[in-house]
């Protein structure tokens, strides 16, 4: 909790700093809004050609898309610049942070905090709200929905932090991590039934993004799993989130202990 407060204080300072360059601030905001807007137009064009995707109707796909997109936007806002940790290592900024009495991860996550995902956040929220009107709500479904967003955010958070740690060991092969982080984020935009069974197994046990939206949404939509996985999976998102974040923190600790700084 204490760390959360520090996080907010650092983040706030960064927002103020960004305001020092209003032109860049506005251009970046417009640019990111544009990315999100065009992303949405793409989705709309796709559905102009379809009535359903792998047996999922538009509002069902919208539920999948909206929930994953919201979780990703939240996680991405929270971690700010974890992905750029390699730059921090090279410039010695990480050394500086290590001499401050705030856990390193809190500092890195708050550093260069920006609201660039605001556009995506809004868009995801709107899509989700619309898709939500088709869900037959029960108290348990509402609970699953809330836990889905929270767990999804944590799963993405864990994936981004965990895979960014690659940079503690190598600064060359960092793109490798994108396959799992952004790749994981991309698959969640579709019903996972478009993939073969082996891919689903991978997305459940290796890069557990299936828990971000697929399993809980099956429950919200009252659908049976085309793959016939156990019903328990639909409620297992919090567990998956815990495991992912736990593993990520472990990798992070190992990375920090392995950290070799830079000469000079």
């Amino acid at each position: 909790m204490r760390h959360l407060r520090t996080y907010v204080q650092i983040a706030w300072l960064w927002i103020r700093a960004a305001w020092q360059y209003p032109a860049s601030f506005v251009l970046l905001a417009v640019g990111n809004g544009l990315v999100t807007g065009l992303d949405f137009v793409g989705l709309w064009i796709m559905f102009a050609h379809l009535r359903d995707l792998a047996g999922f109707a538009l509002h069902e796909v919208a539920l999948l898309y909206g929930s994953a997109s919201l979780a990703l936007a939240l996680a991405d806002t929270a971690i700010s610049s974890v992905e750029r940790i390699g730059t921090y290592i090279r410039t010695g900024r990480l050394d500086q942070m290590m001499t401050k009495p705030v856990p390193l991860l809190v500092q890195v996550c708050a550093d260069q905090f920006s609201l660039r995902r605001l556009g995506r956040l809004t868009q995801a929220g709107v899509v989700l709200a619309w898709a939500g009107t088709y869900v037959e709500w029960t108290p348990l479904r509402a609970l699953v929905a809330v836990s889905m967003i929270a767990s999804g955010t944590l799963v993405f958070f864990g994936l981004f932090v965990g895979f960014s740690c690659v940079q503690f060991w190598t600064t060359d092969a960092t793109e490798f991590a994108n396959a799992f982080t952004y790749g994981g984020a991309t698959v969640t935009q579709y019903p996972l039934s478009i993939f073969p069974r082996e891919v689903l197994v991978g997305l459940t046990f290796v890069v557990p993004v299936a828990f971000v939206n697929w399993y809980p949404c099956l429950y919200l939509l009252g659908r049976t799993d085309p793959f016939g996985t156990p019903d328990a999976f639909r409620f297992a998102s919090p567990l998956a989130a815990l495991v992912t974040v736990g593993a990520a923190l472990l990798v992070w600790r190992t990375g920090v202990r392995h950290y070799t700084s830079t000469g000079s």
Partner: protein, 265 residues
């Protein structure tokens, strides 16, 4: 001769990052697999969307992954060096050199593109061929035309990136413009969705903008959707944009030179 040397130096410079190349190929391939399944599902639901069949669609996916780095869709490449030199003011030295700045950076970017085509272009194509049986060009003429089209794609993309980098002469920092330009590039190149799926006026607009030369035009040539006079006009479309945009680069550079001279660098 000088330009060949510049290009081959850029080629060698990129070829030193071997681990990065392997990691990039891996990532391109993962995305290729993801989008292949997505497109297969899409074309299963609508088997003739945009006039493609499902094999065309999957081929399109892998060609897109193969061209992603070659055309530097996200920006970057030689023009990032330019933006940096503008920011630091070193560009003043370049402007007084007897060698044309545009030609110099174009040569360098072509060297980079050649490296990316041979590695991050070829490898995903092979993987797509093995894993998803993507279509191959039906004749040597098609293959040759595809090669020409890719070179033109790089030139068009270079010219746009050069213009974006030149904004640094006035804004000092290209990053905001770069994000915007990247957003347009991804959408209008056909990287996000084939432009043939775009409905009505949006489709007409998209197919007329320079970004169409990035992915859509080369892919359609590869898929054999252009032949004869149609093929010639597809290539002419790219040439036209290349000429117009390169001329714009020269124009902007002249304005910038005047500005730098007036401000004393």
């Amino acid at each position: 001769m000088l330009h060949v040397a510049v290009a081959s130096r850029a080629f060698r410079r990129y070829s030193t990052y071997r681990a990065a190349t392997v990691a990039g190929i891996f990532t391109n391939s993962v995305f290729g697999v993801i989008y292949s399944y997505a497109y297969l599902a899409l074309w299963r639901a609508n088997p003739s969307a945009g006039g493609y069949d499902s094999q065309d669609a999957v081929t399109y996916v892998w060609l897109g992954q193969a061209l992603l780095m070659t055309i530097a869709l996200w920006g970057g490449g030689a023009t990032d060096d330019l933006a940096e030199r503008i920011r630091t003011g070193d560009v003043a030295i370049d402007l007084y050199r007897p060698v044309g700045l545009v030609g110099w950076y174009l040569a360098s970017d072509l060297g980079r593109a050649a490296y990316h085509l041979l590695t991050r272009g070829l490898a995903p194509t092979l993987i797509g061929l093995i894993a998803f049986r993507i279509a191959l060009p039906s004749s040597p003429v098609t293959a040759l035309a595809f090669g020409v089209s890719v070179v033109l794609a790089v030139v068009v993309s270079f010219a746009i990136r050069f213009l974006v980098a030149s904004t640094a002469f006035w804004l000092l920092d290209q990053s905001g413009v770069k994000v915007m330009s990247g957003a347009f590039a991804i959408f209008f190149s056909g990287m996000m969705l084939p432009l043939v799926l775009f409905p009505g006026w949006l489709g007409t607009l998209a197919l007329g903008l320079p970004w169409a030369s990035y992915v859509q035009v080369p892919a359609d040539i590869w898929l054999g959707r252009h032949s004869g006079a149609d093929l010639a006009s597809a290539l002419a479309f790219q040439v036209l944009w290349a000429v117009v945009l390169l001329a714009a680069c020269h124009g902007v550079l002249r304005l910038a030179t005047r500005k730098v001279v007036v401000q004393g660098g």
